[in-house]
Point group: C2
């Protein structure tokens, strides 16, 4: 099962990176498999310091912000219990991990993460079409360089009514942030493509 | 917020109905708003006996089965604590409720449900695109009479890779059940539409 979660890692200077990640995760197991892109901050941080925290959360505003690299203001954090790392205070659950094995022979690095401590913080809302529409929109936003503007626009058009009809304010704000971002990216690309 | 949940109710003879429902639900409040169709078993049961149980669950196989009215075998149930009703043993959370107010002046009946007891059973998996794809497919299956077969087929085609790439066996089975159902419904409609 792929879990769309949020991973925090620290760089050498202790700066916290908050990134959306889709590890292979099976409930009840004592490990999971991270597959970061080799270009990701998360990967660079884990190479330097192989510890971090995987969060299960229904906070799609944070997902949206993290997807476009604009987590502002920084959400409340607390020190991890068993690793050098930070736990999102408002997450539903948090899994402190240590990388036990790295396989970089494939396109995407595979990092086997051993869970060393678990936090249970609050309930996950449950299935909500708006929250999920934001997740899909956030994933599209991270692929804005790979997908045509027309396709992205049409997907956002399909997702928008779900957000409006089944979500709350956070979901609307998250979707608005993502809509603005993909539009800006599309415009800046169009601009660059113009002959000058 | 609309929560895609599962509601159990009982008819006069004590037969349990298991139905997907999308109530308006805000975490932390002591009530929620059910909006059943007047034709639904859930509505008929609640008119006779105004008590039931709303479940938050990530079990999409149950969602799929309940959406097409084929919950087989019946999942494990246990008696509710404060109402005459049944709790799904494998749910993540369960909210026993009593209908406090009914407004049937609008197209869809609005039933205000007071939560009288809460169960916390197990963790919700978290965001998973396959689980959510099954929820979307299940919602489409309940609208098979309102949407063109071509549109349903194209939506199922869009959802299938998500199920395959990010889900497990239960998600695949759930999607297969729904695919078969919509295909059967489409064929039987096509048959009926043919001049004889």
């Amino acid at each position: 099962m792929i879990l769309e979660g949020i991973v925090t890692t620290e760089d050498a200077r202790g700066h916290v990176n908050i990134a959306p990640m889709g590890p292979q995760f099976e409930p009840g197991q004592d490990h999971f498999l991270l597959k970061p892109f080799a270009t990701a901050h998360t990967y660079a941080n884990l190479v330097q310091h192989p510890e971090g925290v995987l969060h299960v959360t229904d906070d799609v505003l944070l997902f949206a912000q993290a997807a476009i690299g604009l987590v502002e203001p920084t959400p409340a954090l607390m020190p991890a219990a068993r690793v050098r790392g930070q736990v999102l205070v408002d997450a539903c659950r948090a899994y402190e991990f240590r990388i036990a094995e790295v396989d970089d022979t494939q396109d995407r690095v595979r990092m086997r993460a051993a869970i060393v401590h678990t936090w249970s913080q609050r309930d996950f809302f449950g299935f909500n079409r708006a929250k999920h529409a934001v997740i899909e929109a956030a994933i599209l936003a991270t692929r804005v360089h790979l997908i045509s503007p027309a396709e992205i626009a049409s997907e956002y058009q399909r997702l928008e009514p779900l957000v409006r009809k089944t979500g709350g304010r956070d979901e609307e704000q998250a979707f608005a942030i993502l809509s603005q971002y993909v539009q800006e990216q599309t415009n800046s690309h169009a601009h660059k493509a113009r002959p000058t």
